[in-house]
C-alpha cells in the first residue's frame, strides 16, 4: 500500500499533539506527521514529494511566528506539485481579512475554529481524504474502514 501522509502544523506542541490524537483512528492507514512551523512543513513536503509519497491533507494553525497558516496554505495552493492537497485551517484567531484570504488565495477546503471538536475534525478529515484518494485514483478498498462512506458513494457512482 502506498504511503499517504497527513501533516499537522501548529507552533504550540500541546495543541499539535492534541490534533494528532484526534486523528489517531486514521493512523493505521495514513502516516501522520507533526510540524511546529510553516518552514518545517514546507521542508517535509519537499522531502515526501521527492520520495514519491502522497500528501493528502495539511491541517494548519493560523497564528504562528514568521509565517502564518494562511501564508503557508497559499504557497501550497500555488505549488504545482501540491495542487490536489486538501487543506484545513484550524485557528483560534483570524481576522476577517485573513479568513477571506484563506478562502480566495489559499483555497482552503475547510475552516475550523479552536477549540475544535475532535469528532468533527476526524469526520472532515475522512471526507477530504476520501476525495483525495478517489481523485488520485488510489486504492480505496483497503482503506474503507476509515473513509467516509457517503462521500465515497457519491464519487464512484
Amino acid at each position: 500500500m502506498e504511503t499517504i501522509n497527513i501533516i499537522c502544523v501548529d507552533d504550540q506542541r500541546e495543541v499539535l499533539s492534541a490534533v494528532v490524537r484526534d486523528l489517531a483512528p486514521l493512523a493505521d492507514y495514513f502516516n501522520i506527521e507533526e510540524c511546529e512551523s510553516a518552514a518545517e512543513c514546507e521542508e517535509l513536503m519537499d522531502e515526501l514529494d521527492a520520495d514519491g509519497e502522497h500528501i493528502a491533507l495539511v491541517i494548519s494553525d493560523h497564528v504562528m511566528p514568521l509565517k502564518t497558516g494562511v501564508q503557508l496554505l497559499t504557497e501550497i495552493a500555488d505549488d504545482s506539485r501540491f495542487k490536489e492537497v486538501k487543506k484545513i485551517l484550524l485557528t483560534g484567531l483570524a481576522t476577517h481579512a485573513d479568513t477571506i484570504k484563506a478562502v480566495n488565495q489559499a483555497h482552503i477546503d475547510h475552516y475550523l475554529e479552536k477549540a475544535w471538536d475532535g469528532q468533527e475534525l476526524l469526520q472532515i478529515s475522512k471526507q477530504l481524504l476520501t476525495e483525495y484518494i478517489v481523485s488520485q485514483g488510489l486504492d480505496y478498498e483497503s482503506r474503507l474502514a476509515v473513509l467516509d462512506a457517503p462521500t465515497l458513494y457519491k464519487l464512484i457512482q
Binding site: R13, E34, D98
Partner: protein, 459 residues
C-alpha cells in the same frame, strides 16, 4: 502667559510710556486680589502695567464660574480692545494677582508728537497688532492643549473599558480553567493508582510519559525516528514513538523482543501520561495569558513604599516565561533601593518591554535570540536596560513607536493592541522617569531612568 515683546515692540512701548503713561495723577496702585476691571462693565481707560502681575478671567454664563485665561507681566497693556474698538466695555475680569502699579490714559488724552507719529490709533498700532497676534497664539495653544487632553481622556476610557472586559473575562476563564485543571489532576491521580495496582508494566510507561521533560521538537522526532526505524526494523510511526520515549535504540533492544511486540500498547500509555503533562502545561499557559491581560487593565495603581524594581522584573518574567520559550533571557540585577511605587504598574512596564523585545526577535530568523536585562543604581537613578539582538527599529518608525495604536505586528496575536509602549511611557513619566531607546540592526536597547529622590516615599 504672553511671550516677551520683540525689540521693536519694546521700543514702541517705551516711547508710548514716556509720552502718555508718565503722569503721576494718572497712576493707580492695586493690592493683590483687587479687581481692576469687571467683565461687561464700562471701561474707558487703557492701562499699562508698570509692575506686579494681572490675571484675566472669563465668565461663560452669568453667575457661572470664572475661568482663568492668562497672566500679564510688565510692560503690557490692558483694555486694548475696549479702548480702541470704541466699545468701552471690558471683555474680561482683570484682577491683580500681585500688588500692581499701573498707569492709564482715558478718552480725553491729548495726542502727542502727532506730526511725527500720526494720530493716537496709529501710534498704538504696533501694540494693537502685537496684542492680537499674542492672543491668537494663546488661542492656538489652548486648542492644542484641549485636543491633547481629549486624546488622553479617550485613551484612558479605552483602557478602562479593556480593563473591565479583561477582569470580567479572566474571572470566568479562571473558573473554567480551575475546573479543567482540578478534574484533570484528579483523573491523573486516579489512573496513576489504578494502573500501578492492575497494570504495573503499563504504569511504568504512563509515569515515564507523565514525568517526561519538554521533549524533542517534531523535526528531531522525525529524524531520530528514522534511526529507530532502521535499527529495529519497525514501522515509521513506531520509530517516532520510540524516539519520543528512548534516547537510543540499544535501550529498546535491552528490553527484549517481547517489548517490541507490545510497543503500540506501551506507546499509548506513554502518550497518555504525556497528555496529562501537556494538559497541565496548557492550563499554565492560559492562566499566564489571563494574568497578563488583567495587568493590561490593572487598576491596582496604588503606590506603596517597599517596592524593589528587581522584584517587579522577576514577576514580569514569570508571567512571560510560557511565551518566551525560544529566547535566552539573561538578567544582571544590581542592588536597588526600595521605592514608593505600584508593583502592578512596573510589572506592566516590564511585560510590555520584554514582550516587544521578544516579538522583535521572532520577526526574523535568529540563530541565538537573546534578551539582556540589566538593573543598576547610578547617579540618583534606578536604571534598567532591556536589550535584544533582533533586527532593530527602522529609523522611519522611531518617531511613532510611542504612539498608541502603533504596532509592527501583523496578523499576530497582540494583546497590547499597539498600546504597549505608550502605556509603558505613560507609567514611567508618572514617576517622573524617562524611557529612552537606541536601535540599530542587531541591538535595540530600551532604557528606563527612574529618579530615586522623587520616588523614595519622602515626598
Amino acid at each position: 502667559m504672553f511671550s516677551d515683546p520683540s525689540p521693536e515692540i519694546a521700543a514702541t512701548i517705551s516711547r508710548l510710556q514716556r509720552c502718555y503713561f508718565n503722569q503721576p495723577e494718572r497712576q493707580l496702585w492695586l493690592k493683590q486680589g483687587e479687581v481692576l476691571l469687571e467683565q461687561g462693565q464700562v471701561n474707558e481707560k487703557l492701562f499699562l502695567l508698570l509692575s506686579g502681575q494681572l490675571t484675566a478671567y472669563y465668565q461663560v454664563e452669568p453667575n457661572g464660574e470664572f475661568f482663568e485665561l492668562n497672566h500679564f507681566n510688565p510692560p503690557s497693556f490692558t483694555g486694548v480692545h475696549s479702548y480702541f474698538s470704541g466699545s468701552y466695555c471690558a471683555r474680561f475680569r482683570v484682577v491683580a494677582s500681585e500688588d500692581c502699579v499701573l498707569a492709564y490714559i482715558d478718552t480725553q488724552v491729548e495726542v502727542k508728537q502727532e506730526a511725527e507719529f500720526g494720530p493716537l490709533a496709529q501710534q498704538f498700532m504696533p501694540v494693537i497688532v502685537n496684542e492680537l497676534s499674542q492672543r491668537q497664539i494663546l488661542a492656538m495653544h489652548a486648542q492644542v492643549e484641549h485636543n491633547l487632553a481629549q486624546q488622553r481622556a479617550m485613551q484612558a476610557e479605552k483602557m478602562s473599558t479593556i480593563g473591565q472586559l479583561a477582569s470580567g473575562l479572566s474571572h470566568e476563564l479562571n473558573n473554567a480553567l480551575g475546573a479543567i485543571s482540578g478534574k484533570s489532576a484528579y483523573f491523573e491521580r486516579f489512573m496513576d493508582q489504578h494502573f500501578e495496582q492492575y497494570f504495573p508494566t503499563q504504569h511504568h510507561y504512563f509515569r515515564a510519559g507523565l514525568d517526561s521533560k519538554q521533549g524533542l521538537d517534531s523535526k528531531l522526532v522525525r529524524s531520530r525516528g528514522k534511526i529507530f526505524e532502521q535499527a529495529l526494523g519497525v514501522e515509521r510511526d513506531q520509530g517516532k514513538a520510540l524516539a519520543r520515549i528512548f534516547a537510543h535504540p540499544d535501550e529498546v533492544t535491552a528490553l527484549g523482543k517481547g517489548f517490541l511486540k507490545r510497543l503500540d500498547e506501551y506507546a499509548d500509555y506513554w502518550q497518555l501520561g504525556r497528555d496529562f503533562k501537556e494538559l497541565k502545561q496548557a492550563v499554565n499557559h492560559a492562566t499566564g495569558i489571563i494574568k497578563s491581560v488583567r495587568l493590561l487593565g490593572a487598576d491596582d495603581t496604588e503606590r506603596k513604599y517597599g517596592v524593589d524594581i528587581n522584584d517587579t522584573i522577576n514577576c514580569a518574567l514569570d508571567l512571560m516565561s510560557s511565551h518566551c520559550r525560544s529566547v535566552d533571557i539573561r538578567i544582571q540585577a544590581g542592588q536597588l533601593p526600595l521605592l514608593c511605587a505600584s508593583h502592578a504598574e512596573w510589572v506592566q512596564v516590564w511585560v510590555n518591554l520584554i514582550k516587544n523585545a521578544y516579538e522583535a526577535l521572532l520577526s526574523q530568523p535568529n540563530p541565538a535570540p537573546l534578551i539582556r536585562i540589566k538593573t543598576q543604581l547610578s547617579g540618583g537613578f534606578v536604571q534598567v536596560s532591556i536589550e535584544d539582538n533582533g533586527p532593530g527599529i527602522a529609523p522611519n518608525l522611531m518617531q511613532s513607536i510611542f504612539q498608541p495604536d502603533m504596532t509592527t505586528k501583523k496578523g499576530g496575536l497582540s494583546f497590547g493592541l499597539g498600546l504597549g509602549l505608550s502605556i509603558s511611557q505613560r507609567i514611567i513619566s508618572s514617576y517622573q522617569g524617562e524611557l529612552k531607546v537606541v536601535s540599530q540592526p542587531g541591538l535595540t536597547c530600551f532604557s528606563v531612568f527612574l529618579p530615586i529622590e522623587v520616588n523614595n516615599g519622602n515626598n
